[in-house]
Amino acid sequence: MAVADPIIASPSERHERLARTWSDGRGVYGWFTNVHHTTIGRRYMITSFLFFVLGGILAALIRLQLARPENHLLDPDKYNQIFTVHGSTMIFLFAVPMMYQAFGVYLVPLMVGARNIAFPRLAAFSYYIYVGGCLLLWGGLLLNIGADTGWFSYVTLSGPAFSPGKRVDFWAQMITFTELSALAVAVCLIVTIFKHRAPGMTLNRMPLLIWEKLVLSFMVIFAMPAVMLVSSMLLMDRTANTHFFNPAEGGDVLLYQHLFWFFGHPDVYIIFLPGAAIVSTLVTTFSRRHIFGYPGIVVATIATGFLGFGVWVHHMFATGLPQLSESFFTAATLMIVIPTAYQFFCWVATLWTGRPQLRLPMLWVGGFFFVFLIGGLSGLMLASVPVDQQVHDTFFVVAHFHYVLIGGAVFPMFGALYYWYPKIVGRMANETLARVHFWLFFIGFNLTFFTMHFLGLRGMPRRVYTYLPEMHWASLNLIATSGAIFMTAGVLVFLFNVFWSREKGPIATANPWGAGTLEWGVSSPPPPYNFLNIPIVSGREALWDDPPHQPVVSGLRDDVREMLLTNSLDAEPEGREEQPGPSIWPFVSAVVVSVVLIGSIFTLWAVVYGIVPIIITIVGWIWPTQREASQTRSHEKWSVAP
């Protein structure tokens, strides 16, 4: 067997062999063939952050337009396109791809002690298809035919009667792209967590971030099909003369809202739960103790996953639903506070009983506590039907969901980016610049969005491109806009820091924060194979709990991409799997699927014509070369001899 005996071979010899086996292709062609999770995860991070910046530029334009009454910086049509693409970008192209796909793909294999993600070619495909969605939505905007019916594109406004042309179709098909990407990543992550955990990492020793990714992946699996279905139905109403949402022919507009929010509300938790898991991770590391109430936090995460599916109707309180349903969904909405509050108390208890260190990433945890708490409290107010009716479609709601989403996702995201920056880049970020970034962003955020509560209470509706001076909303709007300038400056400082520290920052050690999870046990940045030896885990914080002479696994081949298979509950080894290497087919497949999906905006026959090319690319994807097949056959071993 062509494998260096780990006990005899020197670590450097094994490093060379593993690096040769696991290195992805180089050059332009090689770029499109890469399948390692660290590469795909980094690409997700960079692309989704780019769209955070682009979405932020649109937000800045909205704020400039609203800075004074009767402003004509943007005309109504541009304004409609800009707020629609801003919302859609932030939800579909930034928040979910960053908080779920980017962190999930990059971190999960490292945190469970695996050499790669499960189904790496599917992970690569998910990235390209996500980029396809980004290009579609923004292509429309740049051609001045961007979607213009709001990020949820309610019918009948978005239907064929009131929105002719292709604008809404870009939005509807962008959903298919991005949700396909999230679903593919959900499959990869669940299987990585079920089958590739390092030996000893039983369910009750899984890091909380892994628990969260597991729950979240199941939420994605049950929520995303609803929005793919509803956007496809909308597309068919617009292109194939179906009548799903046409009341004149027995269709129903509320069916759209039910299906959309059956996805839409769980999506809020798909965005928030990663934030909560990041906070759990950071609080543990910087309190220098195991997290308080681990089993309870796991249960709270699972409970949030379930309850998240039972509250969607609170987005529809103003649609005249029966009072009984309204009461039920109010109760369900209030109930979801319980698991979230439980997590808050556990974090406080961990900090209280630990030896907290206010290192850089913890600033963002503090910001999260403050901002998300305010968002949660205004959420409690909105859960009450009478209050909701009063402030429905006003800036109060805009303030609420920005407190929840920026508090629950963007603050933890920045904390996470500073925390894992040394691992990803290999250098430490500049602390002074980072603190300037935090304070600019924190102050700017509160100036912008706290003010909006008052604007909402004074009756300023959402989605109006301007207002009259007599409404007396000008001063508050000006304050909100000034806050946006602070936030923009903060993000610019962050970007400067990222690029500057990449060249000039101090070299990072493997574990600069003294953290306990497995990713900190490998060099920064990780080698192409992640782990020289697969560790055997003996505690929840593997690096803190393991004995000094780390027990590890031997016997995995180093001349092929071999991964260890362990069972789902107790992570006991039960097999070995050879992973496929780099391939151009995921990219080709994504291009063909993109062409078919975009073609279907113009004619649904594109789906029929596209079947054969799609099949060809998928066969290319799984069909091995003669050499690969004979190599695999040469070392096959059956579980029971056939």
């Binding site: 006990i7 046990g521 027990p551 097999g575 695999t632």
Partner: protein, 202 residues
């Protein structure tokens, strides 16, 4: 791990060809079926939701003609037998048996697809007649998409089984292919009730 390691567990004797829950592809397939199942469930829920919005059902058209649907469902129910046979032969590592089973399964799939071609006109309305028509066409197209996918997948499995590039790890793929076949058959039973019988009794 880069901290001075102690080698305590040798995994070189572990198998590389494993079946069912030991194999990642089994879980991948289960999750794929869960995603598609969620999609089916929401299509059916939408159908019954639209039913509550109408006093007449089916609204202004005749219910679908049932016999093609019944014939197809019965055919697919029988096809479960070769699907099961493939699983047993694949787990025994029997290439010839697996390939023969796959050929029979592909034949069943081809006939089912042909009968499906007759089911569309038997719906007794077009997709653009009204919302009911849109819904039942969507339902049947969704299922046909799955039937077609599964049929093509079976053909690809046959290609593997007949190729010099056949590897042992394809046997678990044959096994999983049958799981997906059961999934397609399971939904055709549910769809049969919704599509053909619900308009007659609701």
């Amino acid at each position: 791990m880069d901290r001075r390691p102690t080698f305590v567990m040798d995994v070189s004797d572990l198998p590389t060809i494993v079946f069912r829950e030991r194999n990642p592809i089994f879980w991948g397939n289960v999750l794929y079926m869960t995603i598609e199942g969620a999609m089916f469930a929401m299509v059916f829920a939408s159908y019954f939701y639209l039913r509550t919005r109408s006093t007449e059902w089916p609204p202004g058209v005749n219910p679908p003609y049932v016999w093609y649907g019944i014939a197809n469902t019965l055919l697919l129910l029988i096809s479960v037998l070769p699907a099961r046979w493939i699983q047993l032969r694949a787990r025994a590592g029997d290439l010839r048996g697996s390939r023969n089973g796959l050929l029979v399964l592909a034949a069943f799939g081809a006939v089912a697809l042909i009968i499906r071609g007759f089911e569309f006109p038997a719906l007794n309305c077009r997709w653009d007649t009204n919302a009911y028509g849109s819904m039942i066409w969507a339902m049947l197209i969704l299922h046909t998409g799955h039937l077609l996918t599964e049929w093509v997948e079976t053909l690809v499995m046959i290609a593997f089984a007949s190729s010099s590039r056949m590897e042992g790890k394809r046997f678990p793929d044959f096994d999983v292919n049958s799981d997906y076949w059961y999934f397609v058959v399971g939904w055709v039973i549910v769809m049969n009730f919704v599509l053909y019988w619900a308009p007659r009794f609701l």
